[in-house]
């Protein structure tokens, strides 16, 4: 089994990926492409139970716990937000509950995407991260390591 890379290491790698692009267009095209490549979320999880309501777009996050690690899957009805979902899944999926809960998560700020993308409540990013951490803390509490 491949050794799990740390959250910080994945964030660093993604930050470097974004740093290769000079223009905002390239950065956004890359983000949109990440969204496109996100594996499809099973329709049974695209329900209100898994929905994180942002102001304008919807995000669905499904998580499961396997061998002491937490895995995430997700989707959004907006492309750019779907790219953000993909980024967060790359960073947090397959990590230990405690590491997810404690991760400071700096990748979005460091990508050079517009600052409002990282800050605004309307895209539901903050709510998304909060939900992912909450899921992780629940798994962490149910199976102490």
């Amino acid at each position: 089994m491949q050794e799990t890379r740390s959250i910080a290491a994945i964030e660093q790698e993604l930050t470097e990926d974004f740093a290769m692009f000079e223009t905002w267009e390239e950065k956004y095209e890359y983000l949109i492409d990440l969204g496109r490549k996100l594996p499809m979320l099973d329709a049974s999880f695209k329900t209100d139970d898994y929905k994180i309501k942002g102001c304008q777009s919807s995000v669905w996050i499904h998580s499961y716990h396997k061998d002491g690690l937490v895995y995430f899957e997700g989707d959004s009805d907006a492309m750019i937000v779907k790219g953000l979902v993909s980024l967060m899944i790359q960073v947090l999926s397959g990590q230990k509950p405690a590491d997810i809960v404690q991760a400071p998560l700096s990748v979005i700020e460091n990508t050079g995407l517009s600052s409002h993308l990282a800050q605004t409540r309307s895209n539901g990013l903050r709510a998304m991260i909060k939900q992912m951490k909450l899921d992780a803390s629940v798994y962490g509490a149910s199976s102490p390591q």
Partner: protein, 412 residues
């Protein structure tokens, strides 16, 4: 590029009055197409604010000193200015509030709680902003009255036949938007008022969107109430207007109790002040209302008709350009509308467009525009809305269309 089409209308002179139009967003010249949310402020408005605070800041109406006199005179001058702006008979028919939302709440509460009986009916339309839905739902629930909704067609045009069939002896109030904030469609408020009055129902016109674009004459319209916000007519935020026919306002009980609105207070009984002060409890938003006058002057100096003609030309130019874009659907694509173009694009979420347009220095509004029942009726999650004002240009629309095409290409 296209030359300015309005003879004598000098958009550059107008733009020079708006300092914010000089700023850059994401390294580009700002293109502000979110005027239906709030308009930018001309320098006269900004200077009136600083001048008030620098020279004659004082509490109004009761002070016996020079500053209080000057502040009171300036504050009341705005009331006269608004009176003439909408053709009201007397200044005491103009009540100052926080905004359109508070104006509607005032009427719904003060009138509804004293006049609505169980089984009475209030009529609104499918085009309403939440601010003209929720206050009526609240008072209808409290009083056991029923809220009825005029349906629209797929273009956002009111079904007037359905409205006529809805009117009956139980109809007590019709609260109707003049121009839809989400689509720009203009409602035939003259006909609505005439029809409603045949059943002795009162009519409130929500002129939040129309007041900046269309000539308003409340006496000619014969509406019972009319509401709008100063910040959408190039004035400061926190300035709302409630017009009401004098006899009606005199009949209504106060909305809030406190200072300013009283004549005499004892612990046994309080008598209320006369209009308009009966409805203006507490220290009002003095500075912003004083600075609203130069905003009204700005509109009247250029002439609402001239501004409207310019905006209408922009609207038609933008509509033509957008209609050539594959998969783009203009919502509310009718001839009779204010300068709002609201659209959806197949397979593209409005939020994605807004983010990519912002990166190109363009401010538009996306989402449900506080009109969720309307979005549901149209079967969409939201739209992208570009709305034009006196200072917008044809060149800006050209750049907008290019930016839109570029954004679509990135998302498809």
């Amino acid at each position: 590029m296209m030359a300015e089409s309005q003879s004598g209308y000098n958009v550059e002179t107008i733009r020079n009055l708006f300092p914010i139009l000089n700023r850059k967003v994401k390294g580009r010249d700002l293109i502000y197409f979110d005027n239906a949310a709030t308009a930018q402020k001309p320098i006269q408005v900004i200077e009136a604010l600083t001048h008030y605070y620098s020279h004659y800041n004082a509490n109004i109406h009761r002070g016996l000193h020079t500053l209080a006199d000057e502040a009171t005179a300036a504050f009341e001058a705005t009331r006269h200015s608004i009176q003439h702006f909408i053709g009201a008979a007397v200044p005491e028919e103009i009540i100052f509030t926080k905004g359109t939302t508070e104006s509607i709440n005032l009427v719904a509460s003060a009138w509804g709680n004293t006049h609505l009986q169980k089984g009475d009916e209030i009529i609104i339309s499918s085009l309403e902003h939440h601010a003209n839905i929720v206050p009526w739902q609240m008072v209808a629930e409290a009083r056991g009255a029923q809220l009825r909704v005029i349906p629209i067609d797929d273009n956002g045009v009111l079904d007037m036949e359905a409205f006529q069939n809805m009117l009956n002896e139980k109809t007590r109030f019709v609260s109707i938007v003049h121009a839809s904030n989400a689509l720009g469609v203009i409602n035939p408020v003259e006909d609505i008022i005439t029809l409603a009055h045949k059943f002795d129902a009162l009519v409130l016109v929500d002129a939040a969107q129309s007041s900046v674009h269309l000539e308003l004459d409340v006496q000619q319209l014969d509406c019972d109430f009319l509401v709008f916000s100063g910040h959408k007519i190039y004035g400061p935020t926190g300035t709302g207007i409630l017009y009401g026919k004098k006899a009606l306002l005199e009949m209504l009980p106060p909305y809030q109790g406190g200072g300013e609105m009283i004549k005499e207070v004892t612990f046994e009984k309080t008598t209320y002040n006369e209009l308009p002060f009966k409805f203006e409890a507490g220290t009002p938003n003095i500075a912003d209302f004083i600075a609203l006058k130069p905003a009204v002057d700005f509109i009247q100096d250029i002439g609402k008709k001239n501004i409207h003609a310019h905006e209408d030309a922009l609207l038609r130019y933008a509509t033509e350009k957008l209609e050539t874009i594959d998969g783009l659907h203009i919502r509310g694509n009718v001839a009779n509308k204010v300068s709002v173009v609201s659209f959806t694009i197949d397979d593209i979420h409005p939020q994605d467009l807004a983010i990519l347009l912002d990166n190109q220095g363009i401010a538009v509004r996306t989402g449900h525009h506080c009109a969720q029942p309307l979005m549901k009726r149209l079967g969409i999650v939201g739209t992208t809305r570009a709305s034009f004002a006196a200072y917008n240009t044809f060149e800006e629309i050209d750049i907008f269309a290019q930016a839109l095409n570029k954004s679509i290409k990135m998302l498809k």
